[in-house]
Amino acid sequence: MSAVALQQPRRLRVVEAPSAIVAPEVAEVASGRRTLALVLATAVTIVAAVFGIVGLTAMAANASVEARALELQVAQAERTYAELVAAVAAKEDPGRIRALALELGLVPSSAARHLLLSRGIDADGGMRSDPDEVVLNDPLKPVLTQGR
């Protein structure tokens, strides 16, 4: 036994612990109502997200369908254009025009002449001495111009 142990027991003194140590830690405990709100909010968020994603996907699909419809329209327009080009060329066929003219009673001219103006006229039907130059300015012959 030690000497200390043999000493007279001292009177215990209650010492107040510092409040920070003694005070129990306070944890906020959610009430049942708040939990419900959280659950609902989460559910709403999830549902909104799902609807959002589904909505976006539907919009994308819709846009895709519209794009395809437009592609079809473009293809149809191109097809019509190609058919019209061929039809116009067939109408312009010199053989057809000659046959029609003869049918109408016209006779081939033996003395056809062009009147050449001293100055070219740019308006419709204007004629220049160089036929290639006329073609380059002819809106009805777009293949040789930039505005095709």
């Binding site: 190609a82 066929d93 053989g95 002449r113």
Partner: protein, 625 residues
Amino acid sequence: MGRWRLDDSARLSRRRIRATFAVFLLVFGLAVAQLVNIQVLSAEEYAERGVRQRARTIELPASRGRIYDREGDVLATSVLSATLYADPRSFVPGVRPDGQDVPAAADAHRVARTIAPMLDLDVTWVEDRLRRDAHFVYLARQIDLRLGEEIMALRLPGIGMLTEPSRVYPSGGLAAQVIGFTGIDGDALQGLEARHDDLLRGTPGTLHFERALGGLSIASGLREVAPAIPGRDLVLTIDRDIQFAAERVAAEMIERHDADGATIVVLEVGSGEILGMASAPTFDPSVLRAEEQSFWRNRAVTDLFEPGSIQKTLSIAAALESGAITPETVFEVPDRATIAGNTFSDVSKHGIEQWTAGDILARSSNVGTILIAQRTGADALREQLITFGYGSPTGLRFPGEVGGHVPSPQQWWATTLPTVAIGYGTSSTLLQIASAYAGIANRGVMVDPVLVRGTVGNDGLLEPATAPTARRVISTTTAAQVMTMLEAAVDGEGASGTRARIAGYRVGGKSGTAIKALEGGGGYSDRYVSSFVGVAPLDDPRIVVAVMIDGPRGDYYGGLVAAPAFAEVMHASLLARRIVPDSAGRELGELVEQTRRESAERAERALAESTRALEESTEPAGPAD
């Protein structure tokens, strides 16, 4: 005892729990392992497999480029057409894999009777195809798309439709031998379609997309498009109106002279651009017939012939260029000459005449030309013909183009020089001859003929073709001297080409009449080739027209048969190119008055003819026998 049992039971439960847990762990582990395998280790492979199931790739055909004439008029284009097919299995009863009988979807005879008239086909033929032992038969290819859609609207079982591009030639057979054609599968087979197929055909594109069960595409699925690159358009040097005039005249010549064929070339002087190149008989590339196969070739570049008298111009040019003669050199020309035992004679008899080279050319004297050639010498004549392009293709690189023949120096015998001088013993194409004349008209500078002005891409801009090669073949002086002689051959005294004259224009040219060699060689036939080559207007030569009529019956002299054809085509070409007449300086009032006078005369003639025709048609018919 109870305590013992409780311990035992607890131990057993724990063991079971552990075993169950172990099994669960094992299964879960396997599932996780498989998941890792699918999602991580073999993810790519599975992804690819999935895409393979859903994805589909379609080739997007490139639209074939158009072919335009020099003024932008369409000569060839492509449109979508319908191809109708049938699945003959639909017209016979079948058996399902489970053994159940399946009735035929439709009656083959009824279907054939419905669609055959619409397709203008024989009912029996259609029915025969519908009854074939096959999964797929064509019923009609490349028909009008609307007709195809009309037939599909009938919803006939076993009948299907595909769309495919088809080539159309809106002007029918116009320039058919030049443009060529494509096959039903779009393969270029002839002419410029084949020559420039690499430019015209374009590059096909691809469309990748995902499809669901049943073949429907998934709207939000993968969709990748690599667009097709359309072919470039080809702009030719051909003028549609000139081409038409040349073809019309060529066809008329065949009919009028009961000829085997006719070829006409119209060439622009200076640029080498071919404005027209007609071969008759011709064909319609939209309706190819095997029996017309011989009409497919472009005679102007594929057919060789002995030029005859139209080559005399080149012989005289060679003499002038070599310095052997001058335009003033006078020759004593008899009407016949015997060389190495062979007699060469002129067409018309005459005494010994004092003629210059111009007189000789105007009268187309064989003997005179031979005298000139003897002064020129064989080497100089041969070299000059080769310089004019004889013996090698023109540089046009047209499919099937040939270069002709000039005898090599080793092949020159005593009679070769006189023979070649008057246009026999050599062969060339009509284009070569026209090109040589264009060289003379272009002050001695020959330009390789061209058929393509350029190409047009998606930007719509004309990209000019490479400029043709130009080379001097004779001096400017020689060219001018020859041009004067050519005018005398049309307008001069005793000229052989008087029928080539065109009112208002100064014209120069030379007629030719050559006996046709027998096919396979070994002598000459009793048929002729009539030709005429000329230039106008002579003040500023712009156009060369060469006409060759193969085997005319009756009249066969070039000056009688080919010269009028030349005049007609040249006149049409001058008008189409808006080339001012040499007599254009007249007052407008005078021109109007002349036109009015001519129109009135023509109207009176037409009225008289109509009245006569009407009177004849209204005469009472005679009594019946």
